[in-house]
Structure formats: structure tokens, C-alpha cells
């Protein structure tokens, strides 16, 4: 079972930026690209449990704030060590200025 959960307003996320979103005891990261598309991944880096939303977004990549591991936030793919395990990704869309994310449960 998944549900579309309202997470925040599009304006709450900086362009080419990220924002943390907690739901049902789990933490996620939301991303807004420079052309205003939105994406959602697991919130914590797969290397050590660090909030990715505190990292730097460049194009379609998020760089972990702790040891600079890099992920493609569209696919969750780990692109630079020490990050080697991929992130899970979740569908996200914008509706009337609100960001909705499809999450389990």
C-alpha cells in the first residue's frame, strides 16, 4: 500500500536545493531541481546515517555533507565513494504548489 502524502510547498524547497521530510517515523529528503521538478529519496546517507538534505545539490546530484559521497537523486544511484549503496527513491509531484510524495503505509 502506498499513499500520496503532502510533504510541503514547492516554495519551501530552494531551487537546486533539498529539504528534509519526516513521515511515519522515517526520514526522507525532497529535492527541487533548477527546472522545478521534484524528487524524493531516503533521508539518510547509506554510508553513515547522516541527513542528506544538509548536503549540497548540484544539477541532479546530492553530495553528502559528511564525507562527500554523491548520489543521483532521480535514481538513488551512488555515484562517488565512500557512498556505495544506492538510496531508495519515491515518486514525487507538484500539485497546486504543493509537493506530494508516494510513500508506503
Amino acid at each position: 500500500m502506498t499513499n500520496w502524502i503532502p510533504a510541503c510547498r514547492l516554495d519551501d524547497i530552494e531551487q537546486e536545493g533539498a529539504r528534509r521530510f519526516d513521515h511515519s517515523g522515517r526520514t526522507y529528503a525532497l529535492y527541487r531541481s533548477s527546472d522545478d521538478e521534484v524528487f524524493c529519496t531516503d533521508g539518510l546517507c547509506t554510508h553513515e546515517a547522516v541527513h542528506l538534505a544538509d548536503g549540497l545539490v548540484m544539477d541532479y546530484e546530492i553530495e553528502c555533507p559528511k564525507h562527500s559521497g554523491i548520489f543521483d537523486y532521480r535514481t538513488g544511484e551512488a555515484k562517488r565513494l565512500p557512498a556505495c549503496k544506492n538510496l531508495s527513491v519515491y515518486a514525487a509531484r507538484v500539485e497546486d504548489g504543493a509537493v506530494l510524495v508516494e510513500l508506503p503505509g
Binding site: 547522516v50 541527513h51 548536503g55 555533507p65 559528511k66 562527500s68 565513494l81 565512500p82
Partner: protein, 408 residues
């Protein structure tokens, strides 16, 4: 088939081995390491490994090395290099031929001649073995003495406090973190340790160290005596150059390499903590770095250049340290800076930007809880790499995004 041998199975050696395969090298790759473990990350040793009793964080598992056809010989050392015969001798008596050789031998913790490290109460912290030996002493009610207020000593002190042991840090100089860390940031770190109950003694001179069955006693020249369950020396490290030196390679504060990480023998490369190299962004000045990122990047560069790529590094030095809830990060080298600009990110987090006489950004150092400074330090690193001369007023204003300065 050509054969590449890598001496030292640490962060750097392991990275180089994988880089060879990523670049399409099809010959034999052999990684030889003294320690009886697969390559692992050292940074957690003073942090989580001590606090949580964690297993080592391996750079990759055995299956991954096997899949990439990287032969690992662990628990053996390379004892000599025969440059004419192009082979190395191993401690098990065998010889390995090489076409190209990489020395990624790392560094060893410095010891005090007056207090040689024992299997007992005097220790250094460099390996997983060291961390495992230190941890049992960290119990509540125990007292740990640490000589040296550098990164490893301070991280260990924070871990010891978390586990409930009391700590005294003994530093010969007037403050902590004298190497490469601005006094303003060292002060924040020092106060955090004081707040956690660590005793910090500065300007001390050690008269004698006596290890006994029940404790270790450090006598200071002013007559004070500090008794501890364990003494850890955190007084820096020395590059492992003996092998290269005996083979007649040029040594200069580490195994001297050029911008391609090539030693004075074109078939032998060196990378990571063991080498000194000319750093591009800072006028080609020769430096040696002891940082995880450098070991990682130079490993990859060495791999490429062993295959003849002739690449140079455009990297800016970067380092981090974690103590309690605080993270400290430094990008660049501040030597030669004449102006410092402070950017306050919150009441507890700030960054210092170091600019030279022409206004070029040389370095940025920051401290703060959690990830507070990470993004701006990363952007500063990019500004440094791009050779920018950012407006000091903009750097000082937290509302001005560094990303904008980079795009400007």
C-alpha cells in the same frame, strides 16, 4: 601479461587497485598489506569504533576484490624493492615481479623515545588493533591520559567521555590544534572539551613516564604527577619511507613524487599519507597530507598514471574531524593568508575564510554542530579550486549564498 603491485592495503592502496580496473587495466593486480585485515577506513577508529565497539568499516568486501580480480596478500609485508630486477621481496620469503609499483605505505604514529609503546598501558592509535586494545580501558571510573592536543587525541578524548572515562590532555604548546587550525576554532573545540569535563593542561613539559602494573604515571617538570589507567600518545605521525629509502628513492618529508605521483624511479609511484607532492593550487609548494580524502583521490590518480595517463590533481585539500556533536571541516591551505573573514551561520556555527594579499580565497575553516557548516565549506572548496577572489563583504554575510558567488 603485465603485473602491477601495490604496497600497503589501506584506503589509498585499495582505491588505486579498483581505479586500475575502472580504467580498464587487464593485467595482474596484487595488493600487499602488513595488517591482517582487508583494507578498512581509519577515521572511525577514534570515533565510532571506540565508542560503539564497532567492527572495522571495510573499504570493500572480499567478494568485491575477487570480482575485480584484485589479489590481496594480507598479513605480509614487502621487505625490499629490487629496482633492477623489478621485483619486490615479501616477508614470507617469496618475490613478486612488477612492471609498475605503487607505494601506499601510509604513516605510523609517532612514539616518545622516553616511553616506548608497550602491549600494556602506553599506546598509540593508528590501527584497528590499536583501537581494540584501547577500548577496554575506556570504562566508567577509569582515567585516560593523552599526550598531544591534535585531532586524534581530541577525538579519542570525546569518545572516552562518552564511555564515562575521565580524561586529561597534556599539550606542550599553549593551545590545542596548533597545526593548520585557526585559534578561534581551536578555542571553540577546547571549550567544548572543558564543558564535557576533560582536563586540558597546556605548556607542559614531561619529566618522566613510568609504566607500572596498576597504572602509568606521568611526571611533569613542575612536579605534578598524573596517574592514569592508560596513556595514549597523539603526537602526530611519520610517513613510512623506510622501504623507499632503502631502494634509493628520493625522500623529502615523505616519498617525494612529482605532479603525476611518480617517484624518482619512473616505474614506481607513491600516494597517500606516505608521499610528499607539489600542490597545484598553491604554487607547486611541496606538502604531505594526512587526510582520508587525499588518500582516496591520490589512490585513484596513481592508478590512472600507472597506466600512463599523466594526469595531475586539481584537488583542494579537505579534512574533517568529529568531536561530540561538533564537526570541524577545513578546505584549502591557509598559509600565506593576510585577511580572515568570519561568516556566522548560527550562534554556534561559523566559518573563517582566509584570503591572500590579492584577495584570492586560500582556505576556509569551519566548526559547528552536526552538518551546519558542511554545505558552505564545500562551496568554499569550489571557490578555492576556481581561483576566485570573492567579495569579503559577501563572504561575511550569511544571507548571501555562496552558490551565487560561484555562479558569478
Amino acid at each position: 601479461m603485465s603485473s602491477f603491485v601495490i604496497v600497503g592495503a589501506g584506503e589509498c592502496g585499495a582505491r588505486a587497485a579498483f581505479a586500475l580496473r575502472e580504467r580498464g587495466f587487464d593485467g595482474a593486480v596484487t595488493l600487499v598489506g602488513t595488517e591482517p585485515l582487508l583494507p578498512y577506513e581509519r577515521p572511525p577508529l577514534s570515533k565510532d569504533a571506540i565508542v560503539a565497539g564497532a567492527r572495522p568499516t571495510f573499504v570493500a568486501d572480499a567478494a568485491h576484490f575477487e570480482a575485480e580480480r584484485i589479489r590481496i596478500v594480507i598479513g605480509e609485508s614487502v621487505t625490499a624493492i629490487d629496482r633492477n630486477g623489478r621485483n619486490v621481496a615479501l616477508s614470507n620469503g617469496s618475490r613478486l615481479p612488477y612492471d609498475k609499483l605503487l607505494l601506499a605505505t601510509g604513516a605510523s604514529a609517532r612514539e616518545l623515545p622516553a616511553a616506548p609503546c608497550s602491549d600494556g598501558r602506553i599506546r598509540v592509535l593508528r590501527s584497528y588493533g590499536d583501537a581494540s586494545a584501547i577500548r577496554p580501558h575506556m570504562a566508567e571510573g577509569n582515567h585516560i591520559a593523552i599526550i598531544g592536543g591534535g585531532f586524534i587525541g581530541l577525538e579519542l578524548a570525546a569518545s572516552a567521555r562518552k564511555l564515562g572515562a575521565s580524561v586529561t590532555i597534556l599539550e606542550g604548546l599553549p593551545r590545542v590544534l596548533t597545526r593548520g587550525v585557526p585559534a578561534e576554532i581551536a578555542e571553540v573545540v577546547c571549550n567544548r572539551h572543558r564543558g564535557a569535563g576533560v582536563e586540558l593542561l597546556f605548556g607542559i613539559k614531561i619529566a618522566a613516564i613510568n609504566e607500572r602494573s596498576s597504572d602509568v604515571r606521568i611526571s611533569l617538570e613542575d612536579g605534578r604527577v598524573i596517574a592514569a589507567n592508560l596513556l595514549v600518545l597523539g603526537i602526530g605521525s611519520i610517513p613510512n619511507v623506510a622501504l623507499a629509502d632503502a631502494a634509493g628513492l628520493v625522500i623529502d618529508n615523505g616519498i617525494a613524487v612529482d605532479q603525476h605521483l611518480q617517484t624518482s624511479d619512473p616505474d614506481i609511484f607513491a600516494a597517500g599519507d606516505c608521499c610528499s607532492f607539489p600542490i597545484g593550487h598553491y604554487g607547486g609548494r611541496r606538502i604531505r597530507l594526512e587526510s582520508w580524502r587525499n588518500a582516496h583521490e591520490q589512490g585513484a590518480l596513481a592508478g590512472a598514471n600507472m597506466m600512463g595517463a599523466q594526469e595531475t590533481s586539481a584537488a583542494v585539500p579537505w579534512f574533517w574531524s568529529d568531536q561530540y556533536d561538533l564537526t570541524l571541516q577545513i578546505a584549502g591551505l591557509a598559509e600565506g593568508a593576510v585577511t580572515t573573514v568570519r561568516r556566522n551561520l548560527s550562534t554556534e556555527a561559523f566559518i573563517l575564510f582566509h584570503l591572500d594579499a590579492d584577495g584570492r580565497l586560500l582556505a576556509a575553516s569551519g566548526v559547528g554542530p552536526g552538518n551546519a557548516i558542511a554545505r558552505d565549506i564545500r562551496l568554499a572548496e569550489m571557490l578555492i579550486a576556481a581561483g576566485r577572489h570573492p567579495d569579503p563583504a559577501a563572504l561575511a554575510a550569511p544571507e548571501v549564498k555562496l552558490k551565487q558567488l560561484l555562479a558569478a
